[in-house]
């Protein structure tokens, strides 16, 4: 009967129900979009790191993110790392921003990623045209199809200039997007070094070393040993480097704060609207609650009716909100920053909606707690 009464009270006033649902819906959509963007950004930022086949990362001391590692690690350091017990492979990698000159004039910034596929540190993924072998050809690079327009080119075979050298697109990937909005340009290690002006004495320097361990080697032991041998470097686990990149892009730049702030605002607005409508509904039905009390219902019985009303609103509002959020998600799939929805986020949003509605019920519950059942006779 608690649910029945809650349901009827809720649907008794359609306009108020609509306001309640719009409030929850607005909240859910706003929070879903903000957190979806947050998740989308996080994935984008960490994608490259996640895809690597590595146990440890060696970066220059204090490297901020994947794109800002500097090109400072020497081959001497690489050999020192290789000589460390428990280390199976140390794969050099180059990553840096560079200027891309479009064939039709103008320029844009790109993130050049240089690594040799045969080293096994970063397997090619999402290739839709061409192969990793094609990229070994002189001048060859791979870019993501979604950036062709930004790069001022049409597709395979087009040429452009990166910093000092001419490059030709030989392969295309799909869905490898960059949070910095500077398209990734994949190319073999040595060509990346050359393009980025690392010829001559700098010709064998790297941005990162991807360390793979011998089977059975202890990660912490090897990490400590590496850190002791290699001065001026950071030896990080994959997770640590990922978190460092996230911290750099999401928090030092304030982007993540803005997203989380937006989500909090959504929660706040939703809670206020739901609290307001729930309170006025309770006020409207106050005589019935007084009657219930006179009939001997416990205080908690009445609270349950109000909480059930809040819970029903939550379920309906969440369902509608999710439909809209998923629609927005679908529409954003080809945008520079696609939203991400995961089962975990969907569940958290539901928990959040229930929580929001429960908080909203507080003022209504305080109102009914003050009911004087004696008012039942004075009508």
């Amino acid at each position: 009967m608690i649910l029945t009464l809650a349901f009827r009270n809720l649907f008794h006033d359609r306009i108020r129900l609509a306001v309640t649902l719009v409030g929850i819906l607005f909240s859910i959509v706003l929070v879903a979009v903000q957190l979806g963007l947050y998740l989308g950004s996080s994935r984008m930022i960490t994608n490259m790191i996640e895809k690597t086949n590595s146990d440890l990362w060696i970066t220059t001391f204090g490297a901020k993110s994947f794109e800002e590692g500097g090109i400072l690690l020497t081959s001497g350091q690489r050999h020192q790392a290789l000589a460390t017990p428990g280390v199976k492979a140390v794969i050099p990698m180059v990553s840096a921003f560079a200027e891309w000159r479009k064939p039709g004039g103008g320029s844009t910034r790109v993130a050049v990623v240089g690594i040799d596929a045969e080293d096994g540190g970063l397997e090619p993924w999402n290739l839709i045209e061409g192969t990793w072998d094609d990229i070994r050809a002189p001048d060859a690079i791979a870019v993501d199809r979604s950036y062709l327009g930004d790069l001022g080119i049409q597709g395979i075979g087009d040429t452009a200039q990166i910093a000092l050298g001419r490059v030709r697109v030989r392969a295309l990937t799909e869905g490898i997007r960059s949070f910095t909005q500077s398209p990734y340009v994949f190319t073999p290690l040595q060509r990346a070094r050359n393009l980025l002006n690392m010829d001559g004495e700098k010709g064998d320097k790297s941005t990162f070393f991807l360390v793979q361990l011998e089977p059975g080697a202890n990660l912490e032991t090897v990490r400590t040993a590496l850190q002791e041998r290699l001065e001026g470097t950071d030896v990080l686990t994959k997770a640590e480097f990922r978190d460092r990149s996230l911290a750099q892009w999401l928090f030092k730049t304030g982007a993540g704060i803005a997203l989380i702030g937006g989500a909090l605002l959504g929660i706040l607005v939703g809670t206020v609207i739901v609290a307001q409508t729930l309170y006025s509904s309770t006020k409207d039905h106050i005589n019935e609650f007084a009657t219930l009390r006179a009939l001997g219902s416990s205080g908690s019985y009445i609270h349950k009716v109000i909480l059930a009303q809040a819970g029903l609103s939550a379920v309906i509002g969440y369902s509608l909100g999710m439909i809209i959020a998923l629609l927005i998600l679908y529409l954003s799939r080809n945008s520079p920053l696609p939203l991400v929805m995961t089962p975990g986020l969907a569940f958290s949003l539901f928990a959040l909606t229930l929580f929001m509605c429960a908080i909203s019920a507080v003022s209504a519950i305080m109102k009914v707690t003050k009911i004087d059942p004696a008012t039942v006779f004075s009508r």
């Binding site: 009464l5 006179a294 219902s297 019985y301 004075s378």
Partner: protein, 252 residues
């Protein structure tokens, strides 16, 4: 009947209502006993304290002084939740304006009284239908209050009051909003549930039409009980009306 142990007893009840300058002594030392199987009418002019007394007897208000004993136990010092528990275990209420839930149909309105007692599911639904049939509403089970006449609504309220088989039923002006025919029907029903089901029924009224159904009439004026008449054993309804008339003449 008069020798029966009371199920509800009020002793020397004093009740002050309001605060400061608006303070009113609504009851000034009232004692009253209710025994099973009787329909008692509480009569008196408007403002004489009838509703206040009913609320105190029904454990809705606590007296300023004096004691209410329900089923042999004093209610003095009990908190709101304990009083609510006593109400749902022992007392059924009927109100002047029915106080039905407009969003629930007849069966659901009765079921909710069972629900607060923890009686749920099919047995509760069956019981609700049973009492509605008992009050003659077998054909109105699914109707919402807005689709019931006043008399029918009050009968739903009676069904709600007796659904959990309380030993006491308290009614505040149950016929005041009803026309003569429906008023008589509801009073007949109250008399029946008192006698057939051996309950104590107390109805507050200032409607003389209701007199004929009473086993006993208690008169209250200005917060004090000023008289009590009982229908002699074996005498049927019109007599008590005569008694009342005699008393009025005597007072005049």
């Amino acid at each position: 009947m008069t020798n029966e142990t009371p199920v509800l007893e009020a002793r020397d009840i004093v009740k002050e209502l309001g605060k400061g300058a608006g303070k009113v002594m609504a009851l000034k030392g009232v004692s009253l006993k209710l025994v099973p199987g009787e329909l008692t009418l509480l009569m008196g002019p408007s403002g004489s304290g009838k509703t206040t007394l009913l609320s105190i007897l029904g454990c809705i208000l606590s007296p300023t002084s004096g004691e209410v004993r329900l089923a042999g136990h004093s209610t003095t010092g009990l908190g709101p939740e304990q009083l609510a528990e006593l109400r749902r275990q022992h007392i059924g209420f009927i109100f002047q304006s029915y106080n039905l839930f407009p969003t629930l149909n007849a069966v659901e309105n009765v079921r909710i009284a069972l629900d607060v007692l923890g009686q749920k599911g099919y047995p509760a639904a069956a019981r609700a239908e049973e009492v509605l049939r008992e009050v003659g509403l077998g054909h109105r089970l699914q109707n919402f209050p807005s689709n019931l006449s006043g008399g029918e609504q009050q009968r739903v309220a009676v069904a709600r009051a007796i659904a959990a088989s309380p030993s006491i039923v308290l009614a505040d002006e149950p016929t005041a909003a009803l026309d003569s025919e429906n008023g008589h029907a509801v009073m007949a029903l109250l008399a029946r549930i008192a006698k057939e089901q051996n309950r104590s029924v107390l109805a507050v009224t200032h409607d003389p039409r209701t007199l004929g159904y009473a086993d006993r009439v208690v008169r209250i004026e200005d917060g004090k009980i000023v008289g009590e008449e009982r229908r002699p054993e074996g005498v049927n309804s019109p007599e008590i009306t005569d008694l009342t008339k005699k008393r009025r003449k005597a007072n005049a």
